[in-house]
Amino acid sequence: DVKVTQSSRYLVKRTGEKVFLECVQDMDHENMFWYRQDPGLGLRLIYFSYDVKMKEKGDIPEGYSVSREKKERFSLILESASTNQTSMYLCASSRRGPYGYTFGSGTRLTVV
């Protein structure tokens, strides 16, 4: 029973391309998050959203943007992909309050 779905497990894109990473959750969660995960650096928050059309920058928003037009969908956009954006990208969602995340399986993006 998959609850947070990321559209791609593996992606290879060229430098300068515009890249869309899609995330959909079916739990009616208010909060959604995008993290990137790199060896030795752990998880770093890129953007999060606590409601439809709302977004907040995380710790490393540069080079990224997001879109949340519907409650269940949170998209991460790389405006012009660069090689230093090669990483594992993890989407997560949560209810408001002291609840944990539910994570997607991740998208491993390689920019060549």
């Binding site: 947070v4 909060n31 998050f33 993290y35 030795g40 650096l41 752990g42 998880l43 770093r44 928050l45 999060f48 606590y50 907040e56 993890l90 997560a92 949560s94 408001r96 002291p98 609840y99 944990g100 995340y101 539910t102 994570f103 997607g104 399986s105 991740g106 491993r108």
Partner: protein, 112 residues
């Protein structure tokens, strides 16, 4: 400021022996604390959470963690390691709002 420190980047145990993964946090507020597990090429899965109820928290797969406010610690333990426990483990602190802070992870190896 809020932060999470996982004291060991790698832990290696023999199958059937106890597991201890250490986590210290700093928080200006009463935190919610979580442990997540990530198996290779998978998303993160919630193991257990502490949200100001009982200080000893039991999670899935036989794991438990004890919240010790005086030591600002939330160490993860398991009495007997199984081969399937080999994974990356993340300690996470949530303060107010929607921000979660991740530790850099501890890689657990289980030796047969």
């Amino acid at each position: 400021a809020q932060s999470v420190t996982q004291l060991d980047s790698h832990v290696s145990v023999s199958e059937g022996t106890p597991v201890l993964l250490r986590c210290n946090y700093s928080s200006s507020y009463s935190p919610s604390l979580f442990w997540y597990v990530q198996h290779p090429n998978k998303g993160l899965q919630l193991l257990l959470k502490y949200t100001s109820a009982a200080t000893l928290v039991k999670g899935i797969n036989g794991f438990e963690a004890e919240f010790k406010k005086s030591e600002t610690s939330f160490h993860l333990t398991k009495p007997s390691a199984h081969m399937s426990d080999a994974a990356e483990y993340f300690c996470v602190v949530r303060v107010t709002g929607n921000q979660f802070y991740f530790g850099t992870g501890t890689s657990l190896t289980v030796i047969p």
